[in-house]
Symmetry: C2
Subunit: 448 residues, 2 copies
C-alpha cells in the first residue's frame, strides 16, 4: 500500500489548483486523473503544429481574477474575442443582420426582451451566493422552472426566440430543466446577466493564447510527478485515521482527500461507509448540461471580409443556438464555432460526427451563404459522450434541489473534501469558479 498525505481526485482546474496550493503548503500530494490528460472540461486539441481549437471551456472575462493571474504567472497571453461587424439573427429561417448587442427584431419584442432581462438582473441581486436556499423568495423560485418564468414574462415570439438562445447558451440546458432560483443563482454568481451574455466587458471577452488548457498544463508542470493519468478512482474507504483510495492501477492511503470531479461522476465512486443521504440524493439531482461544440474550419476568416462578426443568434429552426468567430488571434485560419445545446443537441447526440457536420454546416450556409460549406475541416465535441464528464458545461441542480438539499454538495464528509466549479459561489460553472473552489478546498483541508 502506498501512502501520502492528501489525494486529489481530478486534474481539471479545480484539482490542479488544490494540489498546487497543498504542495506550496508543504503537503505530500498525489493527483488521480481518469483521463489521459489534465484540464478536465477544458480541452485544447492541437490540429497542427501551430493551430488548435478549444473543445471545452475557453473564455475568460473581467472579475475572473484568478484565471488571469494564472495566465500572468505562467506568461500565457490572452487576446480579445473577435467582435466586429454585423451579427446575424435567424428567425423562422429568415436571416437578418444587426450591429451591437441588440438584435433586429420588432419593437414590442425588443421592449419585452429588455424588460425580461432587467427583471432577471433585479431578481438575481436578491440571491445570497452563500445561501441561495434562504431568502424570502427562494422556495417560490425553486419550485418553478425558468421556462415557467419566461412563459409568463415573454409574450412576443421573437423576444422568446432570442432569450431562449441566450439562456441556453448560458446554461447549456433547456429552461425547463432548471428552476428560476438556480438560474438567478448562476447569474448572481457571475456578477450579472449582462456579464454572462457579453463579449466586451463580459464572460466571453478574452481567449487564451495557446488554448485554454495551456495554463492547466503549466500548473501541472509544477508537479507532473505527482499526477497519475488514466487513473479513475473506484472506491474511497474512510476510517478514523484517513482514507484508502482504490483506483485503476493501485491503492493509496492518505489523511485526506479532495474530490474535484463533477457531481454526477463523484456519485459513481463507491464510498465506504456511504456518504450522507442528503449528498447522495443531491448528486442524483445535478444532471450535466448538453453541449456539442461544433467547429467549421476554413482557410481564412472570410466572413470578416464580408463585414460579418461570425456571431449568430438562432431560433430552433437552426441546429445551433449561437455561433462565434473562434479564429486564431492572427487570423491565420477561419474558425466558426457553433453551440449546439440542450434540446437542439439531443436529437444529434447519438449521431456520428459526420452526420452532425452535415446538419451544422447546412445551418451555417443558411446564414452566411454557400461559402460556409467550403470547410477545410468539420469537427465537434459532444461532451455528453465523454465518459469523464457526462455532459457540459456543468451539473445544474434540478428544480427543488436548492431548497431540498441546501449545502450538501460542498460540505466535507469526514476526511473527504469537495471541489469543482459546481461547488463555487463566485463564477460557478466557469474556469474561474473551478480555480476558486480548488483554493477553498485546499484551505479547508489544511485548516481541518
Amino acid at each position: 500500500m502506498e501512502f501520502c498525505e492528501i489525494v486529489v481526485v481530478g486534474a481539471g482546474y479545480a484539482g490542479l489548483t488544490a494540489a498546487h496550493h497543498l504542495i506550496k503548503a508543504g503537503k505530500e500530494v498525489v493527483v488521480l486523473e481518469a483521463r489521459d490528460r489534465v484540464g478536465g472540461r477544458v480541452y485544447t486539441q492541437q490540429l497542427s503544429e501551430d493551430f488548435y481549437v478549444d473543445l471545452g471551456g475557453q473564455w475568460i472575462g473581467p472579475t475572473q481574477d484568478k484565471i488571469y493571474a494564472l495566465c500572468q504567472e505562467f506568461g500565457v497571453k490572452t487576446f480579445g474575442t473577435y467582435n466586429q461587424g454585423k451579427n446575424i439573427i435567424s428567425l423562422r429561417n429568415k436571416v437578418k443582420t444587426y450591429q451591437g448587442l441588440i438584435p433586429k427584431i420588432d419593437l414590442p419584442s425588443l421592449l419585452n426582451l429588455d424588460f425580461t432581462l432587467k427583471k432577471l438582473e433585479k431578481l438575481a441581486k436578491q440571491v445570497d451566493l452563500e445561501t441561495p436556499w434562504l431568502g424570502d423568495q427562494a422556495e417560490k423560485w425553486d419550485r418553478k422552472t425558468l421556462a415557467t418564468f419566461l412563459d409568463r414574462e415573454v409574450k412576443f415570439s421573437n423576444a422568446r426566440a432570442v432569450i431562449d438562445a441566450g439562456m441556453e447558451t448560458i446554461y447549456a440546458t433547456s429552461s425547463a430543466e432548471i428552476s428560476l432560483l438556480n438560474a438567478l443563482f448562476y447569474i448572481r454568481s457571475g456578477g450579472s446577466l449582462n456579464a454572462l451574455l457579453s463579449i466586451d466587458q463580459g464572460a466571453q471577452q478574452d481567449r487564451i493564447q495557446g488554448g485554454a488548457q495551456l495554463p492547466a498544463e503549466y500548473l501541472a508542470d509544477q508537479f507532473r510527478d505527482r499526477i497519475r493519468l488514466n487513473a479513475p478512482v473506484r472506491q474511497i474507504a474512510q476510517d478514523d485515521t484517513g482514507v484508502v483510495v482504490q483506483y485503476d492501477g493501485g491503492q493509496i492511503r492518505a489523511k485526506k482527500i479532495i474530490v474535484s470531479i463533477p457531481p454526477n461522476l463523484a456519485a459513481k465512486i463507491d464510498y465506504r461507509p456511504g456518504l450522507p443521504p442528503t449528498r447522495v440524493q443531491l448528486t442524483q439531482r445535478m444532471p450535466m448540461g448538453t453541449v456539442i461544440k461544433c467547429y467549421a474550419i476554413y482557410d481564412r476568416p472570410w466572413w470578416r471580409e464580408l463585414g460579418y462578426s461570425g456571431q449568430i443568434v438562432a431560433d430552433p429552426n437552426l441546429p445551433f443556438q449561437t455561433t462565434f468567430d473562434n479564429s486564431p488571434a492572427d487570423g491565420s485560419k477561419g474558425v466558426l464555432m457553433a453551440f449546439c445545446l440542450a434540446n437542439r443537441a439531443r436529437p444529434l447526440l447519438n449521431l456520428s460526427m459526420e452526420e452532425r457536420g452535415k446538419i451544422i454546416l447546412a445551418g451555417l450556409v443558411q446564414c452566411f451563404g454557400p461559402a460556409a460549406a467550403k470547410v477545410e475541416q468539420y469537427l465537434d465535441h459532444s461532451w455528453a459522450a465523454e465518459e469523464w464528464s457526462g455532459g457540459c458545461y456543468v451539473g445544474l441542480r434540478s428544480p427543488g434541489a436548492w431548497v431540498g438539499y441546501t449545502n450538501a454538495l460542498a460540505e466535507p464528509c469526514g476526511h473527504i473534501h469537495w471541489a469543482g466549479t459546481e461547488t463555487a459561489t463566485v463564477w460557478n460553472g466557469y474556469i474561474e469558479g473551478a480555480i476558486r473552489s480548488g483554493e477553498d478546498a485546499a484551505l479547508s483541508v489544511v485548516s481541518s
Copy 2:
C-alpha cells in the same frame, strides 16, 4: 471465465420475473444481486417469529393482475388494508376527524380540491403511456413543475395542504421536482388518480400475508442456485458476440444481459463501450424519491378501540404526510406506519433512527394523544440511505426529461436490455410495473 446465456442484474421483482421467464424458456441464467437478499425495494423485516413489517413496497390493488397471479401461484394470501373508523386531518397543529375519503375542511377548499383532482384525472387521460413525450400538450406540461400547476389551480390553503400530502404520498417527492407531464404519466400508468389515492378499489387495497417480499422469495426458490447475493456488478463490456460482466466475486461471459436496477444505480456501472449519450444523460435526470417509512409498534391496535382508522393526512407542521394502520391481519400487534416524505424527510435524512423516532412519535401523539407514545418499538427505514436504492419509491424524471430524452431508458443498448419498474408503462413505480417490466425484458431478450 464463467459462461452462461443470460445474466440478470438485480433480484427485485423485475429481475426475478425476467429470470423466471427466461428459465422457463429454457435459457441458462445467472442473477447477480448486490444486496444480501432478494426483493429489492420490497423488503420484509421479520421482527419475531410471527411478526414482520414491510419496510418497502407493500400494497397491491385492483388491475395489478400480475402480482395477484404471483401470490396465487405460490399460495400466498392477501388481506384488506384496515380501513374503518375515523380518519384524522391535522392542519396548523389542529386535529379533526372525518369519515370516508373526504377530509373535514372548509367548503371552498373542498370544492377547490375536488376540481383540481378531477382536472388532473382529465389531463392524465390525454397522456399516451407508450409515448408520453408526444401529444399536443407534452412539451408544455414537461416544462412546468407539478408545483406550478398546483400553484395556479389550488387557491385555498386547506385544499393545498391536503393535495400536497396526497401528491407527496403518491410520488415520494415534492411537487417542485417533477413536471406536470411526469405527474400525469404516473397517474395514467396506474389507471387513475383515484386508484393511486384509494385504499378500497385502489392501489392500497390489499396487503400480502407474510409480507410483500414473500412472493419474491418463492419466485427465487425456483432458481436459488442461479442467484448470487452480495454480487454488485461493476462493469459490463460488450463485443459482437455478447457481454462480459465483472462483479464483486468474479466475471461471467453471456450472450445477453438484463439490467433491472434503478436508473441511478444502473448509471454507476462502468459500461464498455459507453452507453449512448442520450441514455447517460437521461439517467442523470431520474433522481430517486425521498422516503423514510416509519413504524410505531404497540401491543395492540388501540386506536381501533377509540374508533380511529389509524389514517392521518397532515400539513407540514407534522413530520409525516400520511399514516396508515399497518397492523397484522389478525390484529395481534398494533402497527402505525407513517410516511415521512420529500421535503419533510430531508431534514431527517442525516439523523439517527432514535432522533427520528422522537420526532415521529411526537407527531403521532399530537394526533392520537399520549397513548401513541407508549410504543413497544419504534423503527424506520430511510431508503435514501440504502446503498442499493439511493431513495424510493422510484426514479422520477426531472422536468424536461420526458421531452428531452423520450424512450432512452427502455431502449436496448446492443446486448443490454433494461427492466425495472421505471421502464414500465402500466403501473410504473409499483410492484406490478416491476413484474411487467421483467416479463417484457425476458420477451425482448428471447426474441432478439
